[in-house]
């Protein structure tokens, strides 16, 4: 009995230790984001200076806006392209389907640097200079296959006879697709959209290879600021602490709300 309790404690301690390691960097930044110092480890008083800098610097605000707008645009376009793609693919003959699915998975398994390099070289080779368009294409290349991957399983679970029934009852194919098929796969479409948003928000490598000069997302801006530091002040670097903390709090809130509302729904069903 005593041994069992000891093992239980050991397990909990291990999980706790790994979690502590995972959250240590974020907590460190969160604590110092509320201080007046620009160097972690030196003492400072409680202050909102880093948050003021974050919301007061037009360059930083622009790059945050760029990131969000790009993610939204890329996710919407990828979701439309990926959902129609998955639908069409599902009804293809087996070999055509396997071929299209195989090609679609290339960007998923491929190293991001290879995708990025191939796109950049291809654009230059045909004389397309880098612009918002090439950036959007780059993000769609990494997002759309994941939308397809999350819609296809829902199509496989779908009841095919409902579509046939809709046609028998006089609906045309387009209407049957919209009114009968789409509602059945909507959970896959939604999770594909969410996945596309997070992939786009997260991306650095493809962005840096396809973006036009002078355009920055959070990823490229922070990378350049920390790695090619001369043009950036200590205040800018410290404002990233506030940004990290803010993003972390938003994510935590979304995760918890989604989790608890999901749980309540499940319990209500019971």
């Amino acid at each position: 009995m005593k041994k069992k309790i000891a093992i239980k404690c050991l397990k909990a301690a291990f999980i706790g230790l790994v979690l502590l390691l995972l959250y240590a960097p974020i907590l460190l930044l969160a604590v110092y984001s509320f201080s007046s110092t620009n160097t972690i480890g030196t003492s400072g008083s409680f202050s909102f200076a880093h948050y003021k800098k974050l919301f007061g610097d037009p360059v930083i605000l622009t790059m945050i806006g760029n990131t969000l707008l790009l993610a939204l645009l890329a996710a919407i376009l990828s979701t439309i392209l990926g959902t129609t793609g998955a639908l069409g693919m599902y009804y293809l003959k087996r070999r055509q389907k396997a071929f299209l699915n195989g090609v679609s998975q290339i960007p998923v398994v491929n190293a991001e640097i290879v995708t990025a390099l191939a796109l950049a070289i291809a654009f230059v080779s045909v004389g397309i200079s880098k612009s918002y368009f090439t950036l959007l294409i780059g993000h769609m290349v990494i997002c759309t296959p994941f939308v397809v991957l999350s819609v296809l399983p829902k199509l496989k679970q779908m009841d095919n006879s409902l579509y046939e029934a809709a046609l028998d009852l006089g609906a045309n194919p387009a209407k049957a697709l919209f009114r009968v098929v789409l509602p059945q796969i909507i959970p896959g479409v939604v999770s594909g959209f969410m996945l596309a948003v997070t992939l786009s928000l997260d991306d650095y490598i493809v962005t840096s290879y396809t973006k036009p000069a002078g355009f920055d997302t959070i990823s490229t801006y922070v990378f350049n600021a920390t790695m090619k530091g001369n043009a950036h002040t200590a205040e800018t670097l410290a404002s990233f602490w506030a940004l990290t903390t803010l993003i972390f709090v938003i994510i935590l809130a979304v995760v918890l709300v989604a989790n608890f509302s999901g749980r309540r729904k499940k319990e209500a069903k019971k």
């Binding site: 397990k11 999980i15 979690l19 995972l22 959250y23 960097p25 974020i26 460190l28 392209l81 129609t84 793609g85 639908l87 069409g88 693919m89 599902y90 293809l92 299209l100 090609v103 679609s104 290339i106 960007p107 398994v109 190293a111 991001e112 640097i113 290879v114 995708t115 390099l117 191939a118 291809a122 294409i137 769609m140 759309t144 397809v148 999350s150 399983p153 999770s191 969410m194 996945l195 997070t198 992939l199 928000l201 997260d202 650095y204 490598i205 290879y209 959070i218 990823s219 922070v222 990378f223 920390t226 790695m227 990233f240 602490w241 940004l243 990290t244 993003i247 972390f248 994510i251 989790n259």
Partner: protein, 262 residues
């Protein structure tokens, strides 16, 4: 003849998109890899790649970093996944979520947070190799935990009971039941950690003080100087990835992708 609407035609836009932005760029890479500066067909890039000790040692170095990262990830993730999957706790779902949540913070900001932590401890620029491995383990750990958790929690509980009834102790049960049945999870976890640890140069640049060259960085440096050699390395990497993904049965574990379905 009137074009009839068919459900299959819906995939045409996506097929065209893939043709232009996935297949065509890959063909461009193949073209550059097998040509020289005058656009004549040549195998010099290929031969040079396999005969230059400097290039080969970079590759080996990168593979070693990726191997160490993968092994550490596996050693941490397996117990975590095992404990969580077999625990009878009601709220274990939330603890699993806690492991995935940091992954949704912007990647570069996350690496920057580790950089600040390492800088605070005073090791930035000192232990580049260890810093890079630490950062990679930190960033790719959830990719290992998720597939392992999924496969271990699918193991039927009655198998453990049967094993215990037949006289096996905990260690025997682990090696004869849990480990073999979670093999597919181990494979998909390894593939999801190993490749980014060889190629994601954001981590090695920001934490290794730009002193660590992994394959991804290697390709990047050639982008500025020699597209032909860069394309050749990218092509070799692509072939290795495709062969591995065919051997491991393709990419099927969509539930393990970034915890989208949690």
């Amino acid at each position: 003849m009137k074009l009839r609407f068919s459900r299959k035609t819906l995939c045409i836009p996506y097929a065209v998109f893939l043709l232009f932005f996935v297949i065509a760029p890959m063909l461009v890479i193949v073209f550059y890899a097998f040509t020289d500066k005058n656009n004549h067909v040549s195998f010099t890039n290929f031969l040079q790649f396999f005969s230059d000790p400097m290039k080969l040692s970079t590759i080996v170095y990168s593979v070693v970093i990726a191997l160490i990262t993968t092994v550490i990830c596996l050693l941490i993730a397996y117990p975590v996944a095992c404990i969580l999957a077999r625990s009878k706790m009601k709220r274990k779902h939330i603890i699993l979520l806690l492991f995935v949540t940091p992954m949704w913070i912007n990647f570069v900001l996350r690496v920057n947070a580790i950089r600040e932590l390492i800088n605070w401890i005073g090791l930035l620029g000192e232990t580049n190799y260890a810093n890079t491995v630490f950062g990679m383990v930190y960033d790719f750990l959830p990719f290992m935990i998720l597939p392992l958790y999924t496969t271990i929690s699918k193991i039927d509980n009655s198998l453990y009971e049967a094993s215990a009834d037949l006289g096996a102790n905990a260690a025997t049960t682990f090696f004869r039941v849990t480990l073999p049945l979670s093999f597919s999870g181990i494979i998909s976890g390894i593939t999801m950690v190993f490749l980014p640890s060889m190629t994601n140069y954001v981590v090695s640049d920001m934490l290794g003080n730009s002193k660590i060259t992994i394959i991804g960085k290697f390709i990047e440096t050639y982008f500025g100087t020699d597209w032909h050699m860069g394309s050749m390395i990218a092509l070799i990497l692509l072939l290795v990835v495709l062969v591995t993904s065919v051997l491991t049965g393709g990419f099927k574990s969509e539930e393990s992708v970034r915890g989208a379905n949690l």
